[in-house]
Each structure stands twice: as structure tokens, then as C-alpha cells.
Chain length 307, copies 2
């Protein structure tokens, strides 16, 4: 049999049986051939986004991870370039939204609000909230696990975990790449891009729902109350545990398998919760610097361990 | 005399003697009163930018540093909010420009090109190239010195010093704030913003003129040639000197008054220049990893000291 006869048949754009045909293509296709997204899948993504693409190939490109081409090549038509562009246009549009919503807000909080609305976790939430992650094209089984873990834990936090969750980067990437794809497809029409993102990202994080980062909050607490806060990342089990000491007493710990930063945040959060509970305050922040609460009773509580 | 009579007279919009009148106003004005920019100054800035503002007050806001209000208050109408907005819109537009200019470039170099065209030094260059810094309104004498130093050293580097110059942040800030002001004034018309910035920033840094960061280049050199490169920031005069050792031999040093990072970059650059000179190569990068050049002759050269 002539090996050239193995080249893929023309894309079955109008065929209602596109899915099986696509699988068949994949089996028959030469090494490295990657099928386009089926028209049904493209239409489903368009419906999720509320945007109809003129160039349908942009949808597949925005949703294709480099691993999808494995084991043959790392792939030309992957989402990274569109992700880069989407990151740029989102930065601009969210900057503008926050600027207009808060006409008197100083640049510090403006920047924090912008960051919270375009960071890895917020965009990964957008992907999961709208089921966009189901259309990711990849061949990296580990990604599937990470996404499943994230989806499971997400419900614990209404708007944002502020550093307690480790969102898979691939999820924020595909939201950025789809936004980049719309920017290209609409001939760089920022208002069309904004309309799509505004709907997807609803509710945007506002000054009211903007949380504090637990490590910053704990350190501020230390400063305000004159207590010595020590977040120790080199405990007795080196490199797998973060301990929080307040005035030399172990208040909370968190262990970690992968990211030390997430463990630090979780330990800080646990310490804050404990300190709040003990001082009977709903907000540790408001503890007056003049009259710090005594922390002697911490000894009776012992250390809180988190997994 | 009734203190209320000291309130400033109405702005002399049509008065050709606006400058002396403004000084007079400043002396008579109540504490914290800040005069608007004169119509002549506004027109001069508009001419530099190639953009005519509908709302002239945005020009003064974009060029007013917080210190301008000293000693009375830190100021409402300062450039920071517009700077935040300008940063967002520039990120988007430069992302797009680089994306379109290099249709096949992977995201890594795309991101480096974007960064080089909107970073502190590039934007500070734009301010100086067009004389925008002359219109900065401030009362911080130290800024004037920093700007003068930067202007003096700028000519040594054609496109970008890649970390060897310490550009005053205030200069990049006012370019961003003016861009933010145009974005607001044009009712968020990104094409008008781009037209202004494209002219101001010409020539944009391209793949051909994108330099390498000296520290990265030196470390890459070490990896490729199998030499041990050590950039030591704790020399015998602690915290004021950076030494570069290659295979244990001191190759270059740089001292610093303020920023350790700039000194590291300068020491790395001096080390690279020396290594290039010794190996007779115009590009150390191309040294083959298989056959590293011997470095024994370094001892005869001794250490190069930079101020």
C-alpha cells in the first residue's frame, strides 16, 4: 500500500457523524497529524462564550495544549501565542473597568483589584464555572488529575481563596487564549472582548469581596499587636512542612507535596483562624496595637495540623 | 484683611503672561493650592505627543508628581491613577504589535519583546527623547538629580542598556500616565493611543535589537563552556560591591551606591566583555561547549574595577 494514501481525508465539516469520523482519522493519520475540533465542539464553545467566530480554527488553536501532539512533535497550533495576547488585552480591559468603577481609589488598591480579576485562580474559576475545561485538547494525564482536584476544592471559597488553592495554570491559560482568539477574530475590537469576558467573569471581584492574602494579614497582625510572628519553612521534616510560630509558640502547620507557597498560605490562614477564635474577634485586623491580647493560652490548644 | 480674599483669581487662560501670573498665584494662594498647567505648557505637551486633548486638565494631572503638593498634602490630582491605566493599555497594544509583527514567534520571545518595549528604561528613554520630562511638575530635588544622571548616561546605549542603567521610575510613570490620559480623553480609543505611542517609541525594540541581560548571558556562558561562574554579592566590603568569579578567578567587580541589581548587571557585563576580548570572539554565546577556551591568562589581566 502506498504510504501517501494514509494522508487524512478532507475535514468532514458537514457530517453529523463527525466525532467517530474524527477518531477514525486519528487512527489512520500519519504521525503527528492532529484532527481539527469538530464543528459540534466549536459550536458548543461558541455557545459557552456567547461569541460566534468567523475563523473557526481559532477555537481549536485556543484549546490545544502542547501535549496534544505527543509523541510526535510539540505542535505549531497550540494555545500559547493566543494566551500571551489574551493576557495583554485582559490586563487593559480589567484596568479600565476598575479605574471607572472606583473613580477615587488610589493606585495600590486599583492594582490589587486588577490582579485579583486576572490572576491564575480567578481565570481558572471562569474556566470551571462555564465548563470550558471540558474542551481542552491534551494528552497529559497529570493535568486531568490536577483539574479534578481543583474542581473538587473550588466550592469551599465563594470568590477567591487568596492563595489557599493551587489552580492549574492550564485552566487560566485557555481562558486567556480564548480571549486572545476573540480579540484576533473581532479584528481587535476591545468592546466585543470585554462583553464576553464581563459575562464569563461575573461577578468580578470588587473592593468588598477582595480578600486579604493570609501571609500578609498574619504579618500585619504581628506588627499591629507587637507579637513576633515567624513563618518557618524549614521545620524538622525539611522542605515538606510550614510552621507558624507566634511569640515562639507553634500555632499552626501545613504540609505540602508540591508548592511551599500554598502551604505557607494555608498555615497562615489556620493561624489567623485560631487567633481570631481565641480573641473572640471576627477580624484580627482590628486588634488595637496599644493593647495586644495575651497569647499564653495557646499552649493549651497545641498545634493545628493541616493536610 | 479677609482671608477669603486670598483665594486664587480665576485661571488666566488667555493671558500671554501666564507664567509670571502663575508664580504670583502660588505665592498668594492658600496652603495646598496648586495652579493648573498654563495653556502654553499644555499646548507644548500636546505638540510633543501629536495629540490634542479635549479635556486639558488631564495633561496637568498626568504630569503632576505627588511631591508637587508638598508640604501641604500628597495631592488628589497626581499621575498615579492615569499611570496605572496607561500601563494596562500599553501592555495590550504592545502585545498585539509584537504578536502581529512575528507571526511564528513562540510565547517566550514574544513576552521578552513586549517587556523590553514597555519596561522602565524604554519608557524613560521615550520621555527623554521627546523632552517630556521637562514638563514634570514636582518638588523633589532628588528627582532632578536622578533624571540628570540618566540623561547623561543614556547616550552610551543605542536601544537599551539591558539592566546597566538605573532609569528613574518617574520618567516611565509620566509616559504611562500620558498614554492613560489619551486613552481616557479619546473615550478609550486604542487605535488613537497606539498611533501616539508608536511615534513616541520609535524605533520599537525588535528581535534584532533585543539585547541579552548580562547576568543571564554570563550564566549561559558558564553552562555552555563548563566554567564555574560565581556572582558574589557579599565581597569583603559587604553590601557595596559585586564580584564575578570564573573558575575561582576574579574577573570583574562593580560597586554600587543604591541598587545591587544594577551593580550585578554591570559586573556581569564587564566580565563578559573581558571574556570576549580574551577569546577574540564577538559573541561569547557561540563558544562551543565541547571545547572551552582556557582561562588561565586571566591571572595576568587581574581584576577590572568599575565605578
Amino acid at each position: 500500500m502506498d504510504p501517501h494514501s494514509q494522508s487524512p481525508p478532507p475535514a468532514a465539516e458537514d457530517d453529523p457523524d463527525a466525532m467517530p469520523r474524527e477518531q477514525q482519522q486519528r487512527e489512520e493519520a500519519p504521525p503527528g497529524y492532529v484532527p481539527p475540533m469538530s464543528p459540534e465542539e466549536v459550536a458548543a464553545v461558541e455557545a459557552l462564550l456567547g461569541y460566534e467566530f468567523k475563523d473557526k480554527s481559532l477555537v481549536g488553536e485556543a484549546l490545544t495544549h502542547g501535549s496534544f501532539y505527543l509523541p510526535y512533535r510539540s505542535g505549531d497550533s497550540t494555545y500559547e501565542r493566543l494566551e500571551y495576547l489574551g493576557d495583554g488585552v485582559l490586563t487593559c480591559l480589567v484596568s479600565r473597568e476598575v479605574f471607572l468603577t472606583y473613580p477615587d481609589l488610589p493606585p495600590g488598591p486599583l492594582t490589587r483589584l486588577r490582579a485579583a480579576n486576572v490572576d491564575k485562580e480567578k481565570l481558572a474559576r471562569v474556566a470551571v464555572d462555564h465548563g470550558i475545561h471540558r474542551f481542552l485538547r491534551h494528552k497529559a494525564p497529570k493535568l486531568e488529575e490536577q483539574i479534578a482536584d481543583f474542581v473538587k476544592e473550588l466550592g469551599q471559597y465563594e470568590y477567591h481563596s487568596n492563595g489557599l488553592l493551587d489552580a492549574p495554570k492550564v485552566l487560566s491559560d485557555i481562558v486567556e487564549s480564548l480571549i486572545g482568539a476573540i480579540y484576533v477574530d473581532s479584528k481587535y475590537n476591545q468592546e466585543q472582548v470585554w462583553q464576553v469576558f464581563r459575562n464569563l467573569a461575573d461577578p468580578l471581584i470588587s473592593l468588598e469581596t477582595l480578600g486579604k492574602h493570609p501571609v500578609s494579614e498574619l504579618l500585619e497582625f504581628g506588627q499591629k499587636t507587637g507579637r513576633i510572628v515567624d513563618i518557618s519553612k524549614d521545620g524538622w521534616v525539611k522542605d515538606t512542612k510550614v510552621d507558624v510560630f507566634v511569640d515562639g509558640v507553634l500555632v499552626a502547620s501545613a504540609t505540602y507535596a508540591q508548592k511551599k507557597e500554598i502551604a505557607s498560605n494555608r498555615a497562615a490562614k489556620a493561624a489567623l483562624d485560631k487567633l481570631k477564635e481565641m480573641s473572640g474577634q471576627s477580624d484580627v485586623q482590628s486588634a488595637p496595637a496599644e493593647a495586644p491580647e495575651p497569647l499564653d493560652e495557646l499552649d493549651h490548644y497545641g498545634a493545628l495540623e493541616l493536610q
